[in-house]
Symmetry: C2
C-alpha cells in the first residue's frame, strides 16, 4: 500500500452514492507535503518522457499540478470551466460533463499556451467517468501537441474512465485506484498496482 | 524594481478598462519558479508570524498559495465560489462581488478547516476593490481565527481595496502595486516600496 492509499484509509470518508470525501487533504484543505510526494512519484513513473508543460483543470487540479510541476521544472496551464471576460483571443474549447456537479461545462484553454511543440503531462485529482480528462486530451490534440502521460491522484476503478483512456493507448498513472467502497463500513478496497 | 514588477513589464499586457493581463505567467499559464520566488519573498515579509495555515480562493489563487505554502510548511485551504454538492456539513459563507466577472459569489469554507487556534496567511493573485479579500477576512474572523497577514501578487493601487484593508490594520503585502497603466502605450507605473 502506498502513501496515498494509506492516507485515504486514514482520512478519507466514504459517503453514499460512491462519493469519497478527501477534502481534508486533497481538494479543499490541501496537504502540500503529500502533493510533493505525489510529484516525486509521478516524476518516477514518467521518467524519460520529454514533458515540457503540465495541463490541469480548475479548481482542485491546480494545487496538485503546481507542486508536481516543481519536479518537472515546467510551467502549468490550467483549463478554465467557463468563458471569462478576461479570456479573450483564440481558445480551444471542449465540452465536458461533470459527475460531481451534474452539469455540462465548457473547458477552455487559450490557444497561445498550447502548440505543436508541446509535450504535455495532464494532471488531475480525480478520474471517474473520464469526461473532464477526455476534454483535456481533446484540447491538447486540437493544438497539435502530444499527450505524454496522464497523472491522477485517485481513480474510481469501478467507473469506466480509466479503462477508456488506457484503451486509447495513453499512459495513465493513478496513484490510488479504488476498486470498491462501502459507505456503511467505511471500507475502501484498492486495486493492486 | 523587484522580480515580479520586472516580469509584469516584460510579459504583462495592458488592456482598455484598467485590465492587466498576466495570463502568460500568473493566472492561466503559471510560472512555478516565479511562484517559488514569491514564496521566498512572502516568507521574508511575514517573518516571525506564527502562521499555521494559508487561505486562498479558487481558482487563480490556488497555484500561488500551494507553492508559497512550501516556504511556510503549512496546509492550504481554498475557499470555493459556489455551493458544491460535495461540500456538505457546516460552512462559513461570505458574499463577495467580483470585479472581473461582474457577478456576486458566495465564498465558502467548510467550518472544520478553520478554528480559533488558526493563524492564517491569506494569499491571492490580485487585489483591486478588495471584495474577495474582505470575504476571506470575514470567514477567518467568523471562525475565531487570526489573520496574521495578507500576501498579494499584484495590487491595483488606484482602486480602493488596498487602502481599506490597510486602514483596518492588517499587514497587507503586495509584491507589485500598480499606480497607473496606459492601454495605448502599454506603460505600467509601480508604487515604490
Amino acid at each position: 500500500m502506498n502513501f496515498l492509499e494509506e492516507r485515504i484509509l486514514k482520512d478519507g470518508i466514504v459517503k453514499e452514492g460512491n462519493v469519497l470525501k478527501v477534502d481534508s487533504f486533497l481538494n479543499h484543505q490541501m496537504d502540500i507535503e503529500l502533493f510533493d510526494q505525489m510529484g516525486a512519484e509521478f516524476k518516477k513513473r514518467f521518467e524519460g518522457k520529454p514533458i515540457n508543460k503540465i495541463l490541469t483543470i480548475e479548481a482542485s487540479g491546480i494545487g496538485i499540478a503546481c507542486v508536481v510541476a516543481q519536479h518537472f521544472h515546467v510551467p502549468v496551464v490550467f483549463a478554465k470551466k467557463s468563458k471569462s471576460i478576461n479570456l479573450e483571443g483564440e481558445m480551444y474549447v471542449a465540452q465536458v460533463e461533470s459527475f460531481t456537479h451534474k452539469c455540462q461545462n465548457n473547458v477552455i484553454v487559450a490557444q497561445k499556451f498550447l502548440n505543436p511543440e508541446d509535450h504535455v503531462l495532464i494532471i488531475d485529482d480525480f478520474l471517474a467517468n473520464g469526461c473532464a480528462l477526455q476534454g483535456l486530451i481533446q484540447i491538447v490534440q486540437s493544438a497539435g501537441a502530444t499527450v505524454e502521460g496522464i497523472g491522477i491522484a485517485i481513480e474510481k476503478g469501478f467507473q469506466s474512465g480509466g479503462r477508456i483512456i488506457r484503451n486509447l493507448g495513453f499512459q495513465l498513472e493513478s496513484l490510488a485506484i479504488v476498486e470498491s467502497m462501502d459507505a456503511e463500513t467505511g471500507n475502501v478496497v484498492f486495486r493492486e498496482q
